[in-house]
């Protein structure tokens, strides 16, 4: 969580890692960055200094591995002019490389280096300090005791110098812990692990804050990338609690769909269009785009399947011309093949556009293509982060999902993101009576009343047209079905009541009969009793 902190962390050490570090790297403290070759730890260190220098905090870099000229060249590819900062005394690069003509005789220490750093720090009023590939320097020392002594000296110096320091080290090879590793961990106020691994054939860089004394931090692993503007970390668990509430209803661009949704989509919500190929998802999205741009709002269209030209051409055939919106600068496309880069780089690029362009709405066409970024996990990572970022910024996000077969809602949204989806618009084909009809239905619309009836729709050269309620489809007519059932039940109850009444009458009839029979027996008995008496009287 990104809370206000009392401790004076140096701000903006690298582009977006502040969030992970709960506010930045520690001022007057030491951060240890543990990373293998290619993990970008040198870049992290350089960025820390570069951004510091720009922000008025001069810094010193001591490198033991890469030649300084190479560092300057690498930085130049990111657009960082280190040489200019060096000339202005805002940055000092020092190469602590071992000279090839060096011989040793007896014990020595790194005190010369510290003297140089110390003097320079005072001279240029440095606030930041980076030592890159410290293990290279430490390898010069024969015994673990010497190494430990050097680290103690370094640590004492750092504590005294009041610099925000970042030391990078390469972890021990194959678990063979170097003598100084444990000491390192205790020396650092903040320990960051960085590594590169291959996930589904896509190289993924991950960063993790292992320890951060006296500071809140996110202990999860974060993917990061090194892009044209530096190192970017993409935290995921920091998000979620900062979502903006859903906003007002905004038109879908289609009056009848507005009516179904009782006003339209909600601003800052996540809308999912699910449907098979050719059901008009892109057209429906473009309808919305045109309406939004018409209101003067910016829209970012992320396309993973078609180029800008192909996409705008296709929707133009359906009567939606996006060209004016592109020309006015309200609509921007970000077209990339999913497999062109890893999920995190995709995310960072989208994020860069979101930051730079401030869109009110983002379209992702199509989320089903995201798996090609490197598998299900990559796709999930990308979408979750993008969705979260949009929700945080109050951006409406339209996700288009291409489904192969009609499935349940989880299948429709795919990627297990359904909990974040507010509205689901489902587009279906239906075969029958020798023709194919297209059916649109709203399966879910959070925080809003909506009709759940299926509607027939057509893709015309004037966009999408929706018919009035289609009543012939049994499964969705839950309302009518329920009414029928209720009517049936009522009739059944009446029937039963009638039957009871009938039975009661029957009982009554039987009781009457029983009484009558009983009376009859009595009478006949009485008659029989009289007769013999009469007979006796007649004989006597």
């Amino acid at each position: 969580m990104h809370h206000e902190k009392q401790s004076p962390n140096t701000t903006n050490p690298f582009a977006s890692g502040d969030e992970v570090l709960g506010g930045g790297l520690p001022r007057a403290r030491t951060a240890i960055v543990n990373g293998g070759p290619g993990s970008g730890k040198t870049m992290l260190g350089l960025e820390f200094l570069y951004r510091g220098a720009l922000a008025g905090e001069p810094g010193i870099f001591i490198g033991f591995e890469e030649p300084l000229d190479q560092l300057r060249e690498n930085a130049a590819t990111l657009g960082w002019d280190l040489a200019a900062l060096e000339r202005e005394n805002r940055l000092f690069l020092l190469g602590g490389h071992i000279q090839p003509d060096m011989l040793t005789s007896g014990e020595f220490s790194l005190k010369g280096l510290l003297a140089a750093a110390s003097g320079k720090a005072t001279e240029m009023r440095a606030k930041r300090f980076v030592m890159d590939a410290l293990e290279v320097a430490l390898r010069l020392f024969d015994t673990p005791i010497q190494v430990r002594n050097e680290l103690h000296t370094l640590n004492n110096w750092l504590r005294g110098a009041g610099l925000a320091a970042l030391l990078t080290v390469r972890p021990g090879v194959r678990g063979g812990a170097l003598a100084f590793e444990d000491f390192f961990l205790s020396m650092g106020d903040c320990v960051i692990d960085m590594d590169v691994r291959m996930v589904a054939q896509v190289s993924t860089r991950r960063l993790r804050v292992v320890k951060y004394r006296g500071s809140g931090f996110e202990s999860n692993e974060y993917p990061y990338v090194i892009t044209g503007s530096g190192l970017h970390v993409a935290p995921i668990s920091t998000v979620g609690l900062r979502h903006k509430p859903l906003g007002e209803k905004i038109t879908t661009g289609q009056p009848k769909l507005d009516a179904i949704l009782e006003g339209g989509y909600r601003r800052a919500s996540c809308v999912l269009f699910a449907g098979q190929p050719g059901t008009g998802k892109t057209i429906l999205a473009s309808t919305f785009v045109r309406a939004a741009c018409g209101r003067g709002e910016n829209v970012l269209y992320i396309s993973f399947e078609e180029s800008q030209e192909a996409l705008t051409g296709n929707v133009r055939n359906a009567g939606i011309d996006l060209q004016p919106e592109i020309a006015s600068g309200r609509l921007r496309f970000l077209c990339q093949f999913p497999e062109a880069m890893g999920a995190e780089e995709h995310y960072i690029r989208a994020l860069a556009d979101i930051e730079d362009f401030s869109p009110a709405h983002v379209i992702v066409d199509a989320i089903s293509a995201c798996e090609r970024m490197g598998g299900k996990q990559a796709s999930f990572d990308y979408l979750m982060r993008l969705l979260n970022r949009c929700k945080e910024k109050g951006i409406t996000i339209l996700l288009l999902n291409q489904t192969s077969v009609p499935t349940d809602i989880t299948g429709i949204s795919g990627n297990e993101i359904s909990s974040l989806v507010d509205t689901v618009v489902r587009l279906d084909y239906k075969e029958g009576f020798g023709e194919t009809t297209r059916l649109l239905s709203v399966l879910k619309s959070r925080g809003s009343a909506h009709s759940n009836q299926k509607r027939e729709y057509w893709i015309t050269d004037q966009g999408i047209d929706i018919a009035d309620p289609y009543l012939g489809e049994g499964e969705v007519l839950t309302g009518t079905a329920r009414q029928v059932q209720e009517e049936k039940d009522r009739m059944e109850a009446e029937r039963l009541e009638f039957e009871i009444r009938l039975k009661e009458l029957e009982i009554e009839r039987l009781q009457t009969m029983q009484r009558r029979m009983a009376n009859g027996i009595e009478k006949r008995t009485a008659l029989r009793a009289d007769k013999p008496l009469d007979d006796t009287q007649q004989k006597g």
């Binding site: 011989l103 040793t104 005789s105 014990e107 010369g112 280096l113 003297a115 320079k120």
Partner: protein, 110 residues
Amino acid sequence: MSDKSTQSPAGRASGAPFYRLRLFVAGDEPNSVQARHVLTRLCEAHLGGRCAIEIVDVCEDFHAAIEHGIYLVPALKVESPPPARTIVGSLSDEAKVLHALGIAGKGVEP
């Protein structure tokens, strides 16, 4: 500033080379003190004064350390005769120092 202790360039005869040495130390830390002693003794014993030793304390003159690229101290820089070389450490392994200076050890002079 740097502490200069240049010895008189006497005994330049027999074409023996003259040594220009620069010893980088860090204040009075033990290794630096030791290196200073060892160097003075070796020069007296083997170079017969055919040397100029400049002692640079990097704690006072860090610019010199940066300029010469000396980060490990103590360090002895042999500036002449060529080739230039640097011997890092307290110079406790005297044989190694002499070898590096191109002077064979005692008693095995060619």
